[in-house]
């Protein structure tokens, strides 16, 4: 079996004439990628792990001193960092739940015979295609207290969306929901259209009402793909930086990635920010793992 996986080299080919074997051709393709990954991903990852145990500052020439777990200890005892985590958690929950509701809802509406369905779907997907920075800049204009269209349309006068400490985080989440609901919609549509039509007919014959049909047939069958959407969106929302950074500078909307950025490039606490980055990484990994476990359980049912 294993030998059939690699196509053997045609004896009369040019490569064979140059004395290249299957294995050397394979290496030719793989080694550059592997090298690239090592230089730009793996090496910095390990290097920053090393820095996270030092008091290194990239802005000075002072030598780095090994401080052991001091950085981790300080960070985990820092109430400000914890409040950043709390803000991030709140943001993730609001924005992912919002995307799930809006995205799945729109998908349910689209999953029927309506005229110009293809065009409508494509148009609805547009927000997702834009760059985060562009979306952030545009929504900053939309949210503007004096000339923003949102206040104008809702008749809110000069309501400060982004400068109001209570509102800022919700405003960022709202923008994120606008941008990424189409992604959930796309996945949900794929899931919904995969539910065989005859099941709905059978349910109609069995005299099941619309809610009963939805909760007993539609939802269980779409659940695995919705879980995948949740995993993707949670990971992305957890590391949101650009959108929030552009939209607001309110401390109540300071996500963990913004804290990290400030620590690394404004306060130049390189060693400590490396430690924080590792804490975030471990958290994301943990959350994803829990999700994947749960997803497998859902799939098995």
């Amino acid at each position: 079996m294993a030998t059939t996986m690699i196509t053997t080299l045609d004896r009369s080919s040019r490569a064979a004439a140059r004395g290249l074997s299957d294995i050397s051709i394979r290496n030719l393709f793989i080694i550059p990628t592997v090298l690239f990954l090592i230089v730009f991903n793996i090496f910095p990852l390990i290097y920053s792990l090393g820095y996270s145990f030092t008091d290194f500052r990239a802005s000075t020439n002072a030598p780095a001193n090994f401080v052991g777990l001091q950085n981790y200890r300080d960070l985990l005892n820092d109430p400000y960092v914890w409040s950043n985590f709390a803000i991030t958690a709140k943001y993730v929950i609001i924005s992912v739940a919002g995307q799930l509701l809006v995205g799945f809802g729109v998908a349910m509406l689209l999953n029927r015979d309506i005229p110009m369905k293809g065009l409508l779907t494509t148009l609805l997907l547009l927000p997702m295609m834009l760059s985060m920075a562009v979306v952030g800049l545009f929504w900053k204009l939309l949210y503007d207290p004096s000339f923003g269209i949102i206040n104008y349309a809702l008749g809110l006068g000069t309501f400060e969306w982004l400068s109001d400490p209570k509102m800022a985080l919700y405003a960022v989440a709202l923008t994120d929901i606008w941008m990424w609901s189409p992604f959930v919609m796309l996945l949900s549509l794929a899931g919904l259209s995969a539910v065989p039509k005859h099941l709905y007919e059978a349910a109609a014959i069995d005299r099941a009402g619309p809610f009963y049909t939805f909760f007993r047939i539609t939802l269980p069958l779409v659940a695995p793909i919705l879980m995948i959407a949740v995993i993707f969106r949670t990971m992305e929302a957890f590391k949101t930086f650009d959108l929030a950074y552009i939209l607001t500078s309110q401390p109540t909307a300071e996500l963990i990635s913004i804290r990290l950025y400030k620590m690394a490039f404004q306060e130049w606490q390189t060693g400590r920010s490396c430690a924080l980055a590792y804490i975030v990484l471990i958290m994301v990994l943990a959350i994803t793992n829990i999700y994947v476990k749960y997803l497998n359980k859902v799939k098995e049912r």
């Binding site: 007919e201 059978a202 109609a204 007993r216």
Partner: protein, 361 residues
């Protein structure tokens, strides 16, 4: 239990006409089989009765009530489909409970359990109740989907080729079981199939559907022995009825291009089979017999041994005739034989319209 009536039903899908002027009358407690080729409109008829489609024209009556505005739920029918359509991710028991559990007509738990157990016992799937539906074989799945129909005690059972995806042995077994089930429940069954053996063996009444029209309705016996036209004659029966062109001359059947004669008993004379009129003679293979002194000579073209009998293909000129003979008949291919037919069993069809002379009058 219900009496179903379709009046002048037509159904078109875009440019495609599925049914035209269909009339159907299914008595209460009857096992009615709708027989037709793929694409004849059988499934459409079922779906119209179930309320999954709306007729373009005509009316559907259940127990004398026009049900045009009723949804599938209100019509209270059960539908068993060829592709089983069990609810995935649920166990067999959960599938059987499904129709009993919607909030509006939720039954007490004890009643649900009782009905599920009874249905499982009837269909002999008790040992499967706690199994997930994707771990079942085809026959088991089809039993479960029939079970889901019977737990509910619907007014009508509609079955869309429920056996055609199963292997031969299982099909035979389930055929008998379904028939028994229907008698036991005394329910109205509408069974759709393209398999004429199923139609013959199960139906109290059979309706033959061709290109969206009902060609003939009757008991299996009527359909088999007295087909209304050459389509029914050639569609029902395996091997099909032999159809030979010819004329009636002085009370004898004279085959026109083939040049042979056979005796004909004058039963059909009264119905306008005048001498010289172009006709098609129809005779079932079992009414063709070999005899040494018989009037026509033919050669054995092919022999199919079915154990209890042999089906011979006889060649006369360039035409082929099928004859069913006892298995002990000793014939070889290319052997010359002489054959005759049972003159009482011959059906006459008009050459032009294909309609049987018995029905035309």
């Amino acid at each position: 239990m219900a009496h179903i009536q379709l009046k002048n039903i037509s159904k078109t899908f875009g440019n495609h006409t599925a049914l035209t002027g269909l009339d159907l009358d299914i008595a209460d407690g009857e096992f009615f089989v709708l027989l037709g080729e793929t694409g004849a409109g059988k499934t459409t008829t079922l779906r119209l009765i179930a309320g999954l489609e709306k007729p373009s024209e005509g009316q559907v009556f259940i127990d004398g009530v026009d049900v045009a505005d009723w949804g599938a739920a209100e019509r209270d029918v059960a539908l068993v489909l060829q592709q089983y359509s069990l609810y995935p991710r649920y166990t067999v028991r959960e599938n059987l409970e499904f129709p009993l559990k919607p909030k509006i007509r939720r039954l007490p738990d004890a009643e649900i359990k009782d009905r599920v157990d009874r249905a499982a016992r009837t269909l002999r799937i008790e040992h499967l109740l706690d199994r997930k539906t994707d771990r079942l074989s085809g026959g088991e799945m089809q039993r479960v989907s029939i079970g889901r129909a019977i737990v509910r005690k619907p007014r009508v059972f509609l079955m869309d080729e429920p056996l055609s995806a199963l292997d031969a042995k299982l099909r035979e077994a389930l055929r008998t079981e379904l028939k028994n089930l229907q008698m036991q429940l005394g329910a109205t069954f509408l069974f759709v199939t393209h398999d004429q053996i199923e139609a013959m063996s199960m139906g109290d009444k059979v309706g033959v559907l061709n290109h969206g029209r009902i060609v003939q309705t009757g008991t299996p016996h009527e359909i088999y022995n007295n087909p209304r036209d050459t389509y029914v004659a050639s569609f029902v029966g395996s091997p099909p009825m032999n159809l030979i062109d010819g004329r009636l001359v002085n009370g004898r059947a004279v085959m026109a291009p083939l040049n042979f004669e056979l005796p004909f008993s004058g039963g059909a004379k009264a119905s306008g089979a005048t001498d010289g009129r172009p006709l098609v003679f129809g005779v079932r293979p079992e009414d063709v017999y070999l005899e040494s002194g018989a009037p026509v000579e033919a050669r054995v073209h092919d022999v199919e041994n079915h154990g209890v009998e042999k089906i011979l293909t006889l060649r006369v000129g360039d035409a082929m005739l099928r004859a069913t003979v006892p298995a002990r008949t000793d014939v070889a291919i290319e052997q010359a034989v002489r054959f005759a037919w049972n003159p009482d069993k011959v059906v006459l069809f008009d050459k032009g319209s294909g309609v049987s002379l018995r029905h035309a009058g």
